[in-house]
């Protein structure tokens, strides 16, 4: 089935980090994982904007969890990739893979 939504690179990275973190996918953890992997600072504004956008597209959803004292009594959201999200990621990867066909030599260091 062709994907209904197309997603950008950062959106893909956010979705993948969320999948990777599984039950520990809270926003700060997603941010930190992205920073570790890319070696660059991730603007929190961009992160929340992307999370919001992915949610609007129906690729991501969240559930509320309890507060801790270091959060100043605020609750937190755990993110989860929806089946549509997983589907979209797959489609994006296969599109990329198809385009990479025969060009692997460029990808080598």
């Amino acid at each position: 089935m062709p994907p209904r939504t197309s997603i950008g690179e950062f959106e893909q990275m956010v979705l993948l980090s969320t999948l990777r973190l599984g039950s520990g996918a809270f926003a700060p953890d997603v941010g930190r994982l992205l920073e570790e992997v890319t070696g660059r600072r991730v603007s929190r504004g961009a992160l929340y904007a992307t999370l919001e956008r992915l949610e609007t597209k129906g690729l991501l959803r969240w559930t509320l969890h309890g507060a801790t004292p270091e959060r100043g009594g605020h609750r937190r959201r755990r993110f989860e990739v929806t089946p549509d999200g997983v589907e979209t990621l797959r489609a994006a990867r296969s599109a990329l893979t198809a385009l990479w066909q025969g060009l692997e030599v460029l990808g080598e260091p």
């Binding site: 929340y48 507060a67 270091e70 609750r75 959201r77």
Partner: protein
């Protein structure tokens, strides 16, 4: 102690930006959690910096997210189906992201403007707007004694006058008074010095203040011989007694007298220097003085129903006239001034300075807005074709104006947020570099926040609406035909921009002049020669309680022992007693009788009395210009003598040899003895710089001992002096505290707090103004250069030398600079005249100051012109002609 958690103001701003509900709550929590994690590992500085950056970006996202949500809920007027606010924001963000330099400059300019505005507004807020804790404040008045010779002062009121006014006034429903005195508190550990305030029982009724524990004074306690009771200030109660609930009925010992605590006063009164007060005491038990010349009461009254300020002033004038007749000795020439309480608490100088600061800030904001408007105008011209295209494709005019306004609003909201942070930092600096507790009260409260928010929202309308409207009014065909940015609008806008730059330069120079003059004043005050040598003089204060030192003999013995001990010490090069610090404290004024002179009805001679030890003049190196100094032999048993200041001799003994003349303090009928003048000392500067030196009578301490003294010791080591004095006092009287140990230089530094803050603010504003004006000039010239690139290319191709191009462009700038400077000199001169009463040691038209600041602005302005001019002179003709 810094609180845990992120910077509070930032957190609050973030919370205001984030969407409501669970999402906003979670994001705020996320950032807090990350801050806490960073705090553990990297410490506060790094964690805070991270938080500020994250909050800024998350906050921007939050604003966008809220606007998108709002636009989903309601359609924005003037748009077609696609015209939602969210889309406007989206477009605006995209367009700004394309020009990060432009956006940064605009945001920073606005941040500076809003930041300085917020700082000044906190001053206004504190002085003028903050509600004072008094009931129906518009019916409260402050009563002062006034004297034509002391026109710059509001003199307090004597106890006897207060009683008479209380008895006779009909326009005032109730009169109350309080005063200040210190007392030794014993019985709570170490003996300490507390600030007492004797107050009439009516004071609490007039002011409407209430007790938070127990009760306040009853009328039967506020009379001579009443029960010794005390009301504690809230702060003192918390500090000294841990805020314990069973305070009523406790006993405290003040100056050796047991007082029963009856209650605790509300903390609302703890404003400004009223917050120094520890204990309130019944006035009538202490205010026993019959001396009408001893004016030390603050008198506050409430107007009777139906009575106004004018009626009260008229009535008090009648009372003052009668008092002049009844007590010619003490009351001749004295009037009564009635002021609204709010006005009285602020003071005339403060109003003037606030007004000046307000004007200065207005200038900075005008310059900043002109810069932003300039940038916007330039951008509007560049975007003319884009706009015309959109109009041609069917975009409504409102739609386009809205789009531009959204961009402006975004920029100014970010600028406003940054400005608030800047203001907060500025206030911290002010609080950290000043001593007066007053400056700690400068805070960003809801009123200040509302002001800054309003300013941020208003700014884009001011600087954005005109260019936005202009952009849509254009004739489409012309705009589309022409090359971008060389149209009729460009030329019109160019004139407007040049006008703005002239205004900016003029305002900047005006500010520079004012700042320069206040800096000169501050330097003058700092280096002022007080008339004596204030270096290495350590002062400390002792106040012996009357209860344990009832006789002059015991007072004398105590101080004799102390001074001997200090003088003996190798670290001290001279020690003396005085009742007043010359120049730094207002004198204890007394009426004066001069033998052989019948006083004029209207002009009652007066003098400041200072009772000093024999070493006083030597310790302060205060020169004796005639006759002799005071000596050890001027004891109580010897002939009463006095040394007077030159000012006193000139004023009351003109044309006579002062030596041998006799004067009497307190007026002809007082109990004081006639004293023979044995010497004349040089004048010392008046603590109120606008007034001439106080005519002073230096009375030998031994002949008129005082319990409260200031000890002066010439020594480079303040702590050694304090140690020696403490050790000696502990031997003489272990229950006696000494207090206020400091050097004269420290006292001067503290006293000049206000001048320093004002001067630094003016200086800061001037620097900001000059930088902004230079940026504005740079922008206009380089814009003009970029528009003329082709023309310049042609000129160079035809053989113009680069130096000719350079001077052509510089000449263009020089015209603007010349006009701006001329207007600025005029503006500066006008403002300086207005503030001349606040200038000391420098005339309002001081040529050196004018020359220096004009030259420095000229240099900055020329630099801003030469940079783009050099770029013009290096234009490559081939490149330039290829542009189109």
């Amino acid at each position: 102690v810094t609180p845990p958690g992120p910077p509070r103001l930032v957190a609050r701003l973030l919370a205001a930006c984030l969407p409501g509900g669970e999402v906003g709550e979670c994001v705020a929590g996320d950032l807090r959690e990350e801050h806490a994690a960073l705090l553990d590992v990297w410490g506060r500085r790094i964690a805070d910096r991270w938080y500020r950056r994250a909050a800024l970006s998350a906050g921007l996202w939050g604003i966008g997210s809220r606007l998108r949500a709002a636009s989903r809920a309601a359609r924005w007027p003037g748009g077609t189906g696609m015209g939602s606010i969210g889309q406007d924001v989206h477009l605006a963000l995209r367009s700004l992201r394309k020009q990060p330099g432009f956006a940064t400059i605009v945001v920073l300019t606005l941040a500076v403007a809003i930041g300085v505005n917020t700082v000044i507004f906190t001053f206004v807020n504190l002085f003028v707007l903050r509600p004072l804790p008094f009931e129906r404040i518009d019916t409260l008045v402050y009563l002062f004694s006034s004297h034509p010779e002391r026109a710059n002062e509001r003199v307090h009121v004597s106890y006897a006058d207060y009683l008479e006014w209380k008895r006779d006034s009909r326009t005032l429903s109730e009169i109350s008074a309080f005063s200040r005195r210190t007392a030794n508190l014993t019985g709570l550990g170490e003996p300490i010095r507390v600030q007492g305030a004797p107050a009439s029982a009516s004071f609490f009724r007039v002011s409407g203040l209430e007790a938070v524990e127990g009760r306040l004074f009853r009328d039967d306690e506020d009379r001579p011989g009443g029960e010794p009771v005390a009301v504690l200030a809230h702060g003192f109660w918390e500090r000294q007694l841990g805020g314990s609930a069973e305070v009523a009925g406790r006993e405290i010992v003040l100056d050796g007298v047991v007082h029963t605590v009856v209650g605790v006063l509300t903390p609302e009164i703890e404003l400004g220097n009223l917050s120094e007060i520890d204990v309130w005491l019944p006035l009538a038990q202490l205010g026993d003085s019959e001396d009408r010349a001893l004016r030390n009461l603050r008198v506050i009254a409430r107007l009777a129903p139906g009575q106004g300020l004018e009626q009260a002033s008229a009535e008090m004038a009648t009372i003052a006239e009668r008092q002049e007749r009844d007590h010619p000795d003490a009351s001749a020439g004295w009037g009564i001034q009635v002021l609204p309480l709010r006005t009285a608490l602020i003071g005339r100088g403060a109003y003037l300075m606030l007004a000046m600061l307000g004007i200065a800030v207005g200038f900075v904001v005008a310059i900043a807005c002109a810069n932003v408007a300039n940038l916007m105008l330039a951008r509007a011209t560049v975007r003319e074709r884009e706009t015309a295209l959109r109009v041609a494709l069917g975009a409504g005019r409102i739609r386009i104006v809205r789009q531009l306004l959204t961009e402006g609003a975004l920029l100014s909201l970010v600028g406003g947020g940054l400005g608030l942070l800047l203001a907060e930092a500025g206030l911290r600096v002010i609080a950290a570099t000043t001593f007066e507790p007053f400056y700690d009260d400068l805070r960003i409260d809801h009123r200040v926040l509302a002001f800054s928010a309003g300013l941020s929202l208003l700014a884009p309308v001011i600087f954005d609406l005109a260019p936005a409207l202009q952009a849509t009014r254009r004739d489409l065909a012309t705009a589309l035909k022409e090359g971008g940015g060389r149209s009729a609008v460009g030329a019109r806008g160019g004139r407007g921009r040049r006008g703005l730059v002239v205004m900016q330069l003029a305002l900047a120079l005006t500010l520079l002049i004012v700042a320069g003059l206040s800096a000169r004043t501050a330097i003058y005050i700092q280096n002022l020669d007080p008339g004596f040598d204030s270096r290495d003089v350590v002062t400390l204060r002792i106040d012996l309680p009357e209860t344990r030192y009832p006789t002059p003999e015991r007072v004398r013995r105590f101080y004799e022992g102390l001074i001997e001990e200090l003088t003996r010490s190798p670290q001290v090069r001279g020690a003396a007693l005085a009742t007043r610090l010359p120049s730094l404290e207002s004198p204890e004024t007394r009426s004066l009788a001069v033998e052989g002179i019948v006083p004029d009805e209207r002009v009652q001679p007066w003098a400041g009395e200072n009772r000093v030890g024999p070493a006083f003049f030597d310790t302060l190196r205060l020169p004796i210009v005639q006759g002799r100094s005071l000596r050890e032999t001027d004891t109580a048993a010897a002939e009463p003598v006095v040394v007077v200041s030159e000012g006193l001799a000139d004023r009351y003994l003109a044309g006579r040899d002062p030596l041998g003349a006799r004067i009497k303090l307190g007026g002809a009928s007082s109990d004081d003895p006639w004293r023979t003048i044995v010497g004349v000392a040089a004048d010392t500067v008046n603590s109120n710089l606008a007034d001439p030196p106080v005519p002073t009578a230096y009375v030998p301490f031994d002949q008129s001992p005082a319990r409260a003294v200031v000890v002066l010791a010439k020594s480079g080591d303040a702590s050694a002096v304090a140690r020696i004095a403490r050790a000696r006092v502990a031997v003489l009287d272990p229950s006696q505290p000494i207090y206020d140990v400091s050097t004269i230089e420290q006292i001067v530094y503290r006293d000049t707090d206000g001048t320093r803050v004002i001067t630094s603010l003016f200086g800061l504003f001037a620097v900001v103004a000059v930088s902004l004006a230079a940026i504005g000039l740079y922008g206009v010239i380089s814009y003009a250069v970029s528009r003329r690139t082709q023309e310049i290319g042609v000129r160079i191709a035809l053989g113009a030398r680069s130096s000719e191009v350079l001077s052509m462009v510089v000449a263009q700038g020089a015209k603007l600079i010349g006009l701006g400077l001329a207007l600025g000199l005029l503006g500066g001169y006008t403002l300086a005249r207005i503030m001349s009463s606040q200038l000391f040691g420098v005339s309002p038209n001081d040529p050196l100051t004018y020359a220096c600041v004009t030259i420095s602005l000229l240099v900055a302005a020329l630099a801003a012109t030469v940079l783009p001019a050099r770029r013009a002179s290096r234009v490559d003709p081939i490149e330039a002609l290829r542009v189109e």
